[in-house]
Symmetry: C2
Amino acid sequence: MRKPAFRQVFSLLIAMAVILNLTTIVAADEGMWPLSEIPKLNLQEKGLRIDPSLIYDPAKRSLLYAVVQIGATGSFISEEGLIITNHHVAFGSVQAVSTPERDYLKNGFLAKSRAEEIPAPGRTARITESFQDVSAEVLSVAKKNMSYVDRTRAIEKKIKKIVAEAEKANPGKRAEVAEMFPGKTYWLFLYTVLRDIRLVYVPPLAIGNFGGEEDNWMWPRHTGDFALMRAYVGPDGSPAEYNEKNVPFKPKTYLKINPLGTEKGDFVFLLGYPGRTYRHLPASYIAYEQNIRMPAVADWYEWQIKLMEEMSQTSREVALKHDSRIKGLANTMKNYRGKLAGLKRLNYLEQKRQEERALQEFIQADPKRQAAYDQVLARLDKIYDDMGSEFPRIFILDNLRRSVTPLQIALTVVEASIERQKPDLERNAAYMDRNFNRLKQRIGLTLSSSFYLPTDMAIFKELMKRSLALDENQRIKELNRLVMPDKNLDDWLVEFFNSTKMADPEFVKSLWDKKPDEIKKIEDPMIKLALALYPEYKKIEETNRARKGQLDELQAKLVDVRQEFLGQQFIPDANGTLRLTYGRVEGYEPRDAVYYKPFTTVQGIVEKTTGQEPFNTPAALLQLINQRKFGRYVNPSLDQVSVCLLYSTDTTGGNSGSPIINARGELVGVNFDRAWEATINDFTWNHRFSRSIGVDIRYVLWILKEFAGANNILEEIGIK
Amino acid sequence: MRKPAFRQVFSLLIAMAVILNLTTIVAADEGMWPLSEIPKLNLQEKGLRIDPSLIYDPAKRSLLYAVVQIGATGSFISEEGLIITNHHVAFGSVQAVSTPERDYLKNGFLAKSRAEEIPAPGRTARITESFQDVSAEVLSVAKKNMSYVDRTRAIEKKIKKIVAEAEKANPGKRAEVAEMFPGKTYWLFLYTVLRDIRLVYVPPLAIGNFGGEEDNWMWPRHTGDFALMRAYVGPDGSPAEYNEKNVPFKPKTYLKINPLGTEKGDFVFLLGYPGRTYRHLPASYIAYEQNIRMPAVADWYEWQIKLMEEMSQTSREVALKHDSRIKGLANTMKNYRGKLAGLKRLNYLEQKRQEERALQEFIQADPKRQAAYDQVLARLDKIYDDMGSEFPRIFILDNLRRSVTPLQIALTVVEASIERQKPDLERNAAYMDRNFNRLKQRIGLTLSSSFYLPTDMAIFKELMKRSLALDENQRIKELNRLVMPDKNLDDWLVEFFNSTKMADPEFVKSLWDKKPDEIKKIEDPMIKLALALYPEYKKIEETNRARKGQLDELQAKLVDVRQEFLGQQFIPDANGTLRLTYGRVEGYEPRDAVYYKPFTTVQGIVEKTTGQEPFNTPAALLQLINQRKFGRYVNPSLDQVSVCLLYSTDTTGGNSGSPIINARGELVGVNFDRAWEATINDFTWNHRFSRSIGVDIRYVLWILKEFAGANNILEEIGIK
């Protein structure tokens, strides 16, 4: 089996490749760049071989228009609106249309024709059409002598107005104002929102989620984390809800696929919608996250996961209801644990504190700076300290609303009855006419796809117990006074949850247009509880509004003085808007004496396969591997089909599904994760550890061709 | 901190090194070679740069005489009898001389002068002086018509006679006959046994056992697993028990140290005393190990470890008593788990079975072969099947004797009273005059250093319960009938253990020369139990003797026919006698996309350090690393002191402490472990996975110089 002669030649080739790399080395840098920054990046010097304007130029059919926000990110790969994204991005939709009889989640799904494509309920795809700086306009309403609450309210209202005007001026488009630097810079984005999205191809769970939670955030990885969907529009070409008569959407541009994939050392870039990063926040924020919030949330999610796994023993139907919920909780839990390990590994809090000590000296060294910034850090510290002390109580209230579906619905009904009485622009955003339908739809979907009463009851009980364990003045009295002293808690819970109609979709539907007085008359114990708790949530909302007013002011100042101190311009933290990041295909050393290579192979699938979930590779796939039916999709340097790859881009949650694009602007893979050591990206980027993980386009094409027999799709995307 | 220019040059150097390696590649092969095989190995073609006769030539002061068996292996590194071995080999001795007040185990120990060296109670060091084939003589007593029991007995007796004659002819030497191929080849070894061994230098536990059980059997490794001892002899130069007037032993030869260490790709070889391998045994043996014995033992050891860890909470004194016991159990447990994973990874049982199916066809293809070998595999299968069915009961009896010290002592006392009545040559080996003192000494040492009554009581209770859970006809009735039906089990246990004097060293001493009748009169419940159980153990002994007679015959035949079938000559399995193994310094790929480099660095110690055991690096060491006080011991290709290294030799337990010797016959490290994927070595060797782990001589010297300030030692070994 060993081929020494071949191996020698091969080693020689590798050695030469290493030498060649020295002359063509490309840099990887920190940065989730707003597209307007592209001209400053000198991407061609770093390895790009096309004109950067082909990526972003509002006047051209540039690559920008091939990228969609679809939960996370996706991209068009045909002129007929075919979208490639991750299996885990499509997961919720696949779950929603699966039943024990038609278990697409487990078995996968292929539409052999357009007619067989399945509508993905509630799924939308947004395309960024344009953006412009509206900071001056937004900040014009913030007056010096305003209270912080009033300042926040004024800005909120102004933003709503800008949005309303923009949507009026651009019929059919959706407008959003994004905070780029909070308190400092605001951009108005215009989106096209496609509302009829259908499933085209989903691999079986054992491919699309191979390795499951065990491998999540980990390298080496062997997950075929991709799925195909298609966007449809009305016969006139404009966005529309699902309708049989709809036609495939024709994107302005789409990505060409390079079936040869990419190689170690290659320049690559991603476009996508990274969610949130926190790189400009102070050390006290890191301390709050590291010492208080993240450990508590990780433990609580672990508790919930165990609960749901137990409940899931009941039946496959019940398990299906929990799948998506568990996946979400586990993902966050492991991400937080990774971040906590990373913060410790880099001793990041201490680094931040050292920087801030030096920054404070810099501030005090100059009277003008002192006047402007002296108390900035101290006031930020105070805010995060306060948040730390309030945390245990807020945490319970927050999770009551987030994780107990009937209570969530009752609170939404109560809030809707109040908010919907106000003029549209004065409502909380979710209750504005433009968003309210979406909210109702989401609640309906939760009830039909992931709600399971015994689970929510157990969560409710646990939160009640945790409230009782708080200091007496912190307890949520409205919650704990509910239980009759003469009743056993479990008996009471069953009665309480059985007598609410908040899990009855038809009844809930009948409440959306009720007025506050009508709501108060409803004899439903969950509504009564929601009415009792609602003032608590309003209080928190007001506290947050006041705090945001302060934070906006302080963070804006912190960014200003840090830029002056460090002598560099910052780019805004990720905020869910379209960004570009670049790097190269490269492995890394997670720890002393260990090197992670940048490509895994199908042989690794065989090695990991145990037959048990999540390592239960379909027999047909094992056979294809063992028979080496690799065709044109073999990675020549590995003599195997490569499955996943590593590259040094700067990504975070929301970049899932981002296209991995080569120097010539061609699709070579689909981003879906970061390495364990890169979970810390949200706080700081580090070239040694920050690696993103994608699925190799050769594996995608090989699965479509040899495993799924999806010739219709291959033909559509121009692959023979 | 990053130096791109330097890195580029460095990568270029590495790339060139890779190319150069192609022309100087050295092979690594399976094999723990008896030294008589060295001339056949063409070691100079494989990279050795000295005359092979310098390793082994009875007529010369060859390297052979620098190697000692000292628990596992050690080697002389000065003309004054200084021995280097592993920390974990010296562990038991360090534990035995440690107290909470003088905790050498925790804090380490350095003798600044000969006078400060501490005698290691019970420790001996053996030097192989010569060996010769005595197969014909041994097998001459095995007659055709003998029963299997008689055959085994006859061979046992003949061996004892050969040994007695050899010791008579070579006064002062110890003789042993080793089974090379069971039932086929027997060699007579002559040893010099040094009996006054003293501790010279032991690093603190946090260096010598850094990573503890967590890192055991693992790469990457950062353990300074070395210790220094010295052998003393009487003033006349002959072996003697400890005496103040003894003088350092002058070895025939010792290893010169190369302070520059070794590099990737270098040829290295080890000399040592590997314990046991099982490469020539049939598939049915692998099935027995994989499906029955190893899983049961691993689970049982895990249970014991948990128990001992709980008990150790009591005090540091109690913890010290358990340290060595836990270390031994954990080591075996993890080794078995590694083997089980490895057997699965390689699908080894199925491979073996396939080979045997082909072998059986080969046997049946020829009438002469058929006549000689037809039933060999079937009869072997039957034996291992029988062992599998008997296992649960034997396991309990075996562990009663092995893990419950007072019962172990009582059984030994009972057996001694019977065996010591027989003529010396007819006794079980342990009770022969030449061994009996050693046995008594070992029991005394167990009582003083590792016995803790509550632990043994809990183990006894658990084994009683397990006996009760057996099928009724399998139960150990002598055990379970002990408990009075009117007593609570725990109360009974306390009374039972409190009324035995088997843990009183003085009382035990008074029993060694008692006759069977005297023993029967002793009013001690543990002696009563031992007397009741003793016939059970005798029965097992006789069964084993009959089985060994059969196995010897069958295994010898299996080796013969497999050699014919495969067309190759085998070398005997490891059996605790001196062997050579060679390979080269090289990393490996434990799994897809992961490469383990062959050297770890002190920077890795910093990364692993948590401050908590077993990652609690001494502050002084961290400081030396952070200040880069590396002196001449830096590994130039890493710009760090390297700590441990990997190489592709063929090793097993007993090779611990083996010198890692370079192509010029110089010491460049000390072997102490195998990688997780190499635990399978005991069954089969595999170039992809079989890597041994050693501590780099540069780390040893750096610790001695900078951390321990052991200038007296460095001077003695000629290092400035």
